[in-house]
Amino acid sequence: MRTLVEVVARAGPGGRTVLPVVRASGQLAVRRTGPTTVHLVATAFGPLGGDDAVVRLVVEAGARLAVRTVAAAVVLPARGESPPSVQRVHAEVAGVLDLQPEPTVVTAGAHHRAVLHAELDEDAELTAAELVQLGRTGEEPGRWTGTTRVTRAGVPVLHTTVALGPGAAAWLPPVAPRAWASTVHLGRAAARVTGEDAVRLPLDRGWVASAWGDRLAGTRAGLALLEGVPPVEEVLS
């Protein structure tokens, strides 16, 4: 099944943000839940193997947009030989975009591909989080492949593909995590931090933090520890 979500955020009168385009078709509905916030609501089980979702976000200069989801996405395999399900988020950002969906749970036999392609203007701000759990409790892990490409003024600042789960070439014991949490931020710089199964790396006026483990709760806590460390500029100023 094909799903398409489109949201445009535009600077309105008095510094407010207006959303001239808020539409969705397929397996997701979109609801405006705050002045600058939309929630994506799943209208069907899934995604299922073979499903294809595209989320197009445009945040114009001076506008802010926060994107959330109402519940975890539980990725299920299609019957028989299940092709991957794909979700592509394409964001054009001149203002401020904050993308923090609930976790993606990839059940046994399913393979989910997540692509975030964010094209930022010079002064845009982006925060994008990803939370993944392979397999429900007591279940074999599914497979997840996540690609993140962020450009600023046409220059790539981050482009990585992380592949987890059975069948992923580098998902090999003893380090074969079932939980993955990652946040990329462009806007303010932050220093490098290392933790246990967690690392934050500086980017040009930004950072990317990742944590991994067996359970998402502990992994999120590891990520939060990294994010809680104030940027060095703050400490020094």
Partner: protein, 229 residues
């Protein structure tokens, strides 16, 4: 032209690769690598993530640099400078770890130093000052008369031989054992170099292993290390 490929992939080529362990020194310290089996696992991780990314960039740099076997019409020098600079930024975006960025640029510079003398060509001047290693490798392949696929193969192969040799030294492993481990990865090296092409989005491979990033950053803080990375 096979001799040029062998020379590029030869650990005796004095490009400075021997001072880097490709993360294996810290992997040993962290207990991730301790014996032949865990070394093979580590090398496979590295090959299919950073090795695959390096292979894609090396092949693209080789194509950009032109040369008799790249199948590309020679681009005007100005375009080549811009294209290699763009590729260098792609490499930077695929290497978020500061320690790994520094290691890649160090080895890139080392390879340019020897490559310029071994295969003199004005194309070397089109590279940025401290290029990422895969770019230097791609240009070296082009000026030595090799094809993009050769550049990819060299990058993929070097992504495991450096750390394999480092592990042999650090763990005092039997050289035959290490040779066997490397040889067993031969098919995987071929698969990675064959896949070193842009995908449907036009994006080069970007495989990354957060474990390697973490190990590299922890390693960079150590004062008792033998290897630069």
């Amino acid at each position: 032209m096979t001799a040029a490929l062998l020379a590029l992939a030869d650990s005796r080529l004095p490009a400075g690769g021997h001072t880097h362990s490709g993360g294996v020194e810290q992997a040993i310290a962290a207990g991730v690598v301790s014996d032949p089996r865990s070394l093979e696992t580590f090398l496979r991780r590295r090959l299919t993530t950073s090795g695959s990314t390096a292979a894609g960039l090396a092949a693209a740099a080789c194509r950009t640099a032109g040369g008799p076997r790249t199948g590309a019409a020679p681009a005007p020098a100005g375009d080549r400078v811009a294209a290699l600079r763009a590729l260098d930024r792609e490499a930077e975006a695929r290497t978020p770890s500061p320690a790994l960025r520094a290691a890649s640029r160090q080895q890139g510079r080392g390879l340019v130093r020897v490559g310029r003398r071994a295969w003199p060509d004005p194309v070397w001047d089109d590279l940025p000052a401290h290029p990422h290693h895969p770019l230097a490798l791609g240009v070296a392949a082009a000026v030595a008369g090799l094809a993009p696929g050769d550049a990819a193969a060299a990058a993929a192969y070097l992504s495991i031989t450096g750390p394999a040799t480092a592990a042999q030294r650090l763990l005092a492993m039997d050289p035959i054992t290490v040779a066997v481990v490397t040889a067993r990865l031969g098919d995987a090296v071929d698969e990675v170099s064959a896949a070193a092409v842009p995908d449907a989005d036009g994006w080069l491979p970007a495989g990354t292993d957060p474990l390697l990033d973490l190990l590299a950053e922890v390693h960079a803080d150590r004062t008792d290390r033998f290897f630069a990375s």
